[in-house]
């Protein structure tokens, strides 16, 4: 028996309805769970040391991650050194290569220190710091939050009185200079 015209119509309508519902569902879900930016860039960014020093020629680690995702060489990060290159090579399935030393050489982790007697409070280093690790105000002494400093050296050049130096992060005696606890019962 041939299907009646009504049957054909019902089938068409049913399938159209089903497809419409499915399509709508997919669209809502894709909007709901949309990933910001490219997941590859985030993965590359996770391999980079986050020094934000710009030695690779990009204004920070994330911009370099974006450039790598677009095909740039993976050996331009001196703070990360061979380890970062190896991690990137593994992630991207490319050959590991030696560090491109035109961008700098791998050094031990550093931290910036402001000579507080010399600082004139010009705020130029504060503006230069990529991770907001320098505290201070105009015509007031500035100081580096050592725990947050990445040792990128971007604050050195803007300083008009050259009062910022980099010291190895492992150096001891990172001490608080003024005792602020009350005297004990001793004397």
């Amino acid at each position: 028996m041939m299907p009646s015209a009504l049957d054909v119509l019902t089938t068409i309508l049913a399938f159209t309805g089903l497809l419409a519902v499915g399509g709508l569902l997919l669209q809502t879900l894709s909007r709901r769970f949309q990933v910001d930016g490219s997941p590859l860039v985030a993965k590359i960014d996770a391999c980079l040391p986050q020094t934000q020093c710009g030695q690779c020629g990009h204004p920070g680690c994330r911009p370099y991650a974006e450039a790598i995702a677009a095909g740039e060489a993976i050996n331009k990060c001196p703070p990360g050194g061979a380890e970062t290159i190896a991690a990137l090579a593994e992630l991207l399935g490319v050959e590991a290569m030696p560090l491109d030393e035109t961008h700098g050489t791998t050094a031990e982790p550093m931290v910036a220190v402001i000579d507080e007697d010399v600082c004139i409070g010009c705020t130029k280093c504060i503006a230069a710091c990529p991770v907001d690790a320098i505290l201070g105000a105009s015509k007031r002494m500035h100081t580096v939050i050592a725990d947050e400093c990445t040792g990128c050296d971007l604050c050195l050049a803007p300083c008009p009185v050259d009062c910022i130096t980099l010291i190895p992060r492992s150096r001891p005696a990172n001490r608080i200079s003024t005792p602020s606890v009350g005297r004990l019962a001793h004397d």
């Binding site: 040391p49 986050q50 005792p179 606890v181 001793h186 004397d187």
Partner: protein
């Protein structure tokens, strides 16, 4: 005579060693006080706050505060001293770090004779006790050096006194229990009342009957209505490791990722308790009992020495080293580590110096005999971990449970190939910690960088909006002027 229940633990440590104990070398030697001519105190590698004048030539009184560590613990000056110099050096830890060493010339050989801090009442409240522990420099004297006051928090119910000094040759804790039993009881009493602890278990090994007798004959009246008991363990290394001890004594397994206090269990070394009793009386931690022992020491002994006593002075006091090549270890023969000649003075956690002839290890490849797995007290597979770490597969080693390793060295002792298993595990764990610290730093830097980028963007947008509004305002003003002129000209 025995007022407290004394029970033998029925549980048995998996693995471990029942090695000859070597404690006989120093167990019966009389305790000698020792005051060196100079003190070499290593300053913390982390942030700290000096509390005394350190200029060369300045004099610091015995018991006066020297510095406060990042954890808020105040180290007192052990003797009346004159500051000689501040030099760079390395710490005494198993992974030495660069530090500064304060060199002091001892002017008076006696420890503080008057209380340096106001003595507390015999029933101090928890806050006072906590404050006192921090200002008296109280840290765990068993070897870890964890600040005592930081343990006293949360819902505590049981105090475990760790008198199980399981490592061969060590006798410092046993000596403290014999010499300072009344002080230990006093501290137990104070802690149990201040934190309303319902139970106290004193855990000893079966090879320290003198310590048990000393504690049992001095039990105070005050504690008689309390649930205080002794548990005796079969002497087996490393039953004195904190988590192992809790399991053996109480039958509770504390996960590696948690601390016993999170489960209401407070574990203290008897030395820490004796120091707490002193702190309550107003004396900060200035001295500790240290065993100087081992086959290379001429006359092994037990000393009460101030913190900062140079390692050489301790060895000299024990008659020096036998002729020949020797290695000096900080800690015992298993868990200790070799220390260089130029080490700073002993710190609060120095319970033992052990010297033995330096024998070059000739290692051969792993033959997969599995003895290490049988000896491992946390039931790891040391040979697998070693293989993974030798090939740089730290992730794999962590997956296999490297984090649970106690670094007790039991596997080293049984390995027929003399492989440096524990060294490799220590290196691996240190590397893992460094990597995770770096990862945390990187995450923070990324967050701060992104926050700054967002702020700059927002500021740029705000500036743009301001410009736009100003332009609109001036345009509307011009418009009004034009309209007014047009009106005039009409």
């Amino acid at each position: 005579m025995t007022k407290y229940a004394t029970t033998l633990s029925t549980r048995r440590l998996p693995g471990g060693l029942s090695a000859p104990d070597g404690k006989g070398l120093t167990a019966q030697v009389p305790l000698r006080p020792l005051t060196p001519e100079t003190l070499r105190i290593a300053l913390p590698t982390e942030r700290y706050m000096p509390l005394a004048a350190w200029s060369i030539g300045s004099i610091i009184k015995a018991g006066a505060p020297l510095f406060m560590t990042a954890q808020g613990v105040i180290q007192a000056c052990p003797r009346t001293v004159q500051v000689t110099q501040l030099v760079d050096g390395m710490t005494l830890s198993s992974i030495p770090e660069r530090c500064q060493i304060l060199q002091l010339t001892v002017l008076e050989p006696s420890p503080p004779t008057q209380p340096c801090l106001a003595p507390l009442s015999s029933r101090p409240d928890p806050a006072d006790l906590q404050k006192r522990a921090a200002e008296a420099g109280l840290v765990g004297l068993g070897g870890a050096g964890f600040p005592a006051h930081q343990k006293w928090s949360g819902e505590l119910h049981t105090l475990v006194v760790n008198g199980a000094e399981c490592e061969p040759f060590l006798t410092a804790d046993e000596r403290v229990m014999r010499e300072r039993a009344p002080a230990i009881w006093h501290a137990i009493d104070v802690l149990m009342r201040a934190y309303s602890l319902t139970k106290c278990v004193i855990v000893l090994e079966d090879n320290t009957p003198d310590a048990l007798a000393a504690l049992q004959t001095t039990h105070p009246e005050a504690l008689q209505d309390r649930d205080v008991s002794f548990t005796i363990l079969e002497s087996r290394y490393p039953s004195g490791a904190e988590r192992q001890l809790i399991w053996l004594a109480l039958g509770l397994e504390i996960p590696t990722t948690a601390r016993p206090v999170e489960y209401g269990i407070l574990v203290h070394n008897p030395g820490t308790l004796a120091a707490l009793a002193d702190a309550i009386d107003g004396y900060p931690l200035t001295d500790r009992i240290v065993t100087v022992t081992g086959p290379s020491i001429i006359s092994p002994g037990v000393f009460r020495a101030p913190i900062g006593t140079p390692i050489n002075a301790l060895i000299a006091a024990a008659g020096g080293l036998q002729p020949g090549d020797h290695q000096v270890r900080h800690g015992g023969p298993y868990m200790g580590w070799e220390i260089p000649e130029e080490a700073p003075g002993m710190h609060a956690m120095t319970h033992c110096l052990y010297a033995a002839p330096a024998i070059a290890r000739t290692t051969s490849p792993c033959i997969r005999c599995g003895l290490c797995a049988e000896a491992c007290p946390v039931q790891l597979q040391p040979q697998q971990l070693f293989a993974a770490l030798s090939h740089g597969q730290l992730d794999h080693a962590m997956h296999e449970g490297l984090a649970h390793c106690l670094r007790c060295g039991a596997c080293d002792q049984v390995c027929p190939s003399a492989l440096p298993l524990t060294d490799q595990f220590q290196t691996g764990l240190t590397r893992q910690r460094a990597l995770s610290d770096e990862a945390k730093r990187a995450d923070r830097a990324r967050e701060r960088f992104n926050a700054r980028a967002r702020r700059l963007e927002r500021q740029a947008a705000e500036a743009e909006t301001r410009r736009h509004t100003r332009r609109q305002q001036s345009e509307s003003a011009l418009e009004r002027i034009r309209a007014a002129r047009a009106k005039e000209s009409i």
